[in-house]
């Protein structure tokens, strides 16, 4: 009994530094943000006034807010879906060993490792309306109806999605590849004996085995794409054609630092937090986590 109490005290003592840091730098700011959402506050000046739910009332009737939610949804759904398709395809290509396999695995991960700002600026250059190599190559194909310039109001969302898939699909690839390597070969042997075609094997063996990892990847990528600020901001700077990719995080940033409405910015962040908590709750209700293996 005494020994167990001593154990518990040591454990809590060791946890203290990280718990204190998480409390001070993560949980306290999130709580502070909830409180800020009830204030009209200037981002730089000291003025602030309690306005209750006014910020939220204003948000709900603001067409720009609803537009930003719509754009963030389009962006999150399109880029997440394509990342998963590209990531699974890439993992299947890299799954079996071949000469140069390790090299190609390294290359395939690299888009994820380079800083976001470099990825975005390289794509702005690739897609440049006057000098871009991709618009030039696409123009040479002479497909009817193909736009000549891509960083325009009507097409910039496509560029944003493609660039995001390029940057983030390695995340899916890595997680799926790690899982693929652990599927017992016997399952495929059994399917082959039953006469399953390669396509049939993919749908009847591979996909069910990948189910859990794909669900986790879908949740994480969906949340992170919906709340992605730097990629849409750096591609469009919020203005000009960028107006067509002013997603909810960009809108939140502009409220806070272009219009200096800190209270409104906080309220918008809280809306994102609420959506995040809803997504996580739904996820855990639908897929209850297994009991913690180390719990006594």
């Amino acid at each position: 009994m005494w020994r167990r109490r001593r154990e518990a005290l040591i454990g809590m003592g060791l946890l203290l530094p990280s718990a204190a840091l998480v409390l001070a730098f993560t949980l306290f700011p999130v709580g502070y943000n909830v409180w800020l959402g009830f204030y009209a506050k200037h981002s730089l000046r000291a003025t602030s006034a309690w306005v209750g739910l006014d910020n939220y009332a204003q948000i709900l009737v603001d067409p720009d807010f609803w537009r930003s939610v719509w754009l963030a949804t389009v962006y999150a759904v399109a880029s997440t879906a394509l990342q998963i398709v590209a990531g699974v395809a890439g993992a299947l290509i890299l799954h079996r060993r071949f000469p140069g396999c390790d090299f190609l695995r390294g290359v395939a991960l690299f888009p994820y490792m380079i800083p976001t700002i470099i990825a975005v600026f390289v794509w702005r250059w690739l897609m440049n309306d006057l000098y871009g190599v991709i618009p030039y190559a696409l123009g040479a194909l002479a497909i009817p109806g193909m736009p000549e310039a891509w960083l325009t109001h009507s097409t910039i969302m496509w560029v944003l999605v493609v660039l995001s898939v390029w940057t983030f699909f390695p995340f899916v690839l890595v997680n799926v590849l790690a899982r693929l390597q652990t599927i017992p070969p016997e399952l495929y042997d059994a399917a082959r004996v039953d006469g399953a075609s390669p396509v049939g094997q993919f749908f009847n063996v591979t996909l069910p085995q990948l189910r859990n990892v794909l669900l986790i990847v879908l949740l994480l990528r969906g949340i992170w794409m919906f709340t992605k600020f730097d990629v849409p901001w750096l591609l469009g700077f919020g203005g000009g054609a960028g107006e067509a990719i002013r997603t909810l995080p960009v809108f939140t940033y502009q409220r806070s630092f272009t219009y200096y409405q800190a209270g409104m910015g906080a309220a918008l962040s809280n809306v994102m937090l609420a959506l995040l908590l809803m997504a996580v709750t739904l996820y855990f209700v639908a897929f209850p986590p297994e009991a913690d293996e180390n719990d006594a």
Partner: protein, 287 residues
């Protein structure tokens, strides 16, 4: 049992496509991933008029280091580079020291509320940085931590630490506790068991986590954008962003900056690839 069934070569999916088709897919993956990077490198090495030539040249006719001279002689690139390293190192050291101790406590000691802490860590791991934009900015102003590299590093802790705790906890969980028990039975004390049994096994995971933490700090744009205004305190992300707001956008210069930021990342990446693979199994990516 039929002979041979168990030791058939690992042709998991039969012959889904011919060898040529497989190589075409591999080539496609390679071009998709590598072409943008190739284009960055050649664009940084072209002379100005060739950079803007139509049709674009796949291989430069004339090689030129003008963009690199300009980058190092006429911009503050080197200052930005040093600042980024400083901030990333401060963040990584604090996060790893606190995270390793905390994750060890979470997996090796039983105490009330442990599961709750683990769940909260998972939730905090999912937190997107944008949610903490306004409060961290206002708090940093309150405590005089704007225009400060330390202040920037402290804000990175807010999302890097929960993330490190989560991955490190998975690593420590994967080390069988029986090994420690065996060491204790053999007469080692707890500190010795930690130093000689747990740490060597946990090291790849700790290194992988340190790399991921470093990358989180290295790549951040949002917090540097709102917290740093002074040019000599800027990090690479916001310093390079400024190149875009010059009177004439010099694409060669921007691509050269991209190459110079990518090369250290590439060298680093190749050097530690072994540890990164250890990290992937534990779900160690974010962003």
């Amino acid at each position: 049992m039929r002979e041979g069934a168990a030791r058939r070569p690992r042709s998991h999916r039969g012959r889904p496509f011919s060898a040529a088709g497989a190589w075409a897919l591999r080539l496609g993956l390679f071009v998709f991933c590598a072409f943008p990077l190739y284009w960055m490198v050649v664009s940084s090495l072209k002379v100005s008029h060739e950079l803007l030539a139509a049709p674009p040249t796949l291989v430069p006719h004339e090689w030129d280091l003008r963009a690199y001279r300009k980058l190092f002689l006429e911009t503050n690139f080197w200052t930005y580079f040093q600042n980024t390293v400083i901030v990333a190192v401060i963040t990584t050291v604090i996060v790893i020291v606190a995270g390793v101790i905390g994750a060890y406590a979470l997996t090796r000691y039983a105490f009330p509320g442990r599961t709750l802490v683990a769940r909260l860590t998972l939730l905090a791991y999912m937190f997107p940085p944008i949610i903490m934009l306004v409060p961290l900015f206002l708090l940093a102003r309150e405590f005089g931590l704007t225009n400060s590299l330390l202040g920037l590093a402290l804000t990175y802790i807010s999302f890097a630490l929960p993330y490190a705790l989560w991955i490190l906890r998975a690593f420590f969980q994967s080390i069988p506790i029986e090994l420690e028990h065996a060491a204790l039975v053999d007469g080692a004390n707890r500190a010795q068991a930690l130093a000689y049994v747990v740490m060597p096994l946990a090291l790849p995971g700790i290194i992988a986590t340190a790399i991921f933490t470093f990358i989180v700090a290295w790549n951040d744009f949002l917090f540097a954008l709102v917290l740093i205004g002074k040019d000599d305190l800027k990090t690479l992300a916001i310093g390079i962003n400024d190149f875009f707001h010059m009177a004439v956008v010099d694409w060669g210069l921007i691509m050269a900056a991209g190459v110079m930021v990518t090369i250290p990342a590439l060298v680093f990446f190749i050097a530690v690839q072994r540890y990164l693979i250890a990290g992937w199994g534990a779900g160690g990516l974010k962003g």
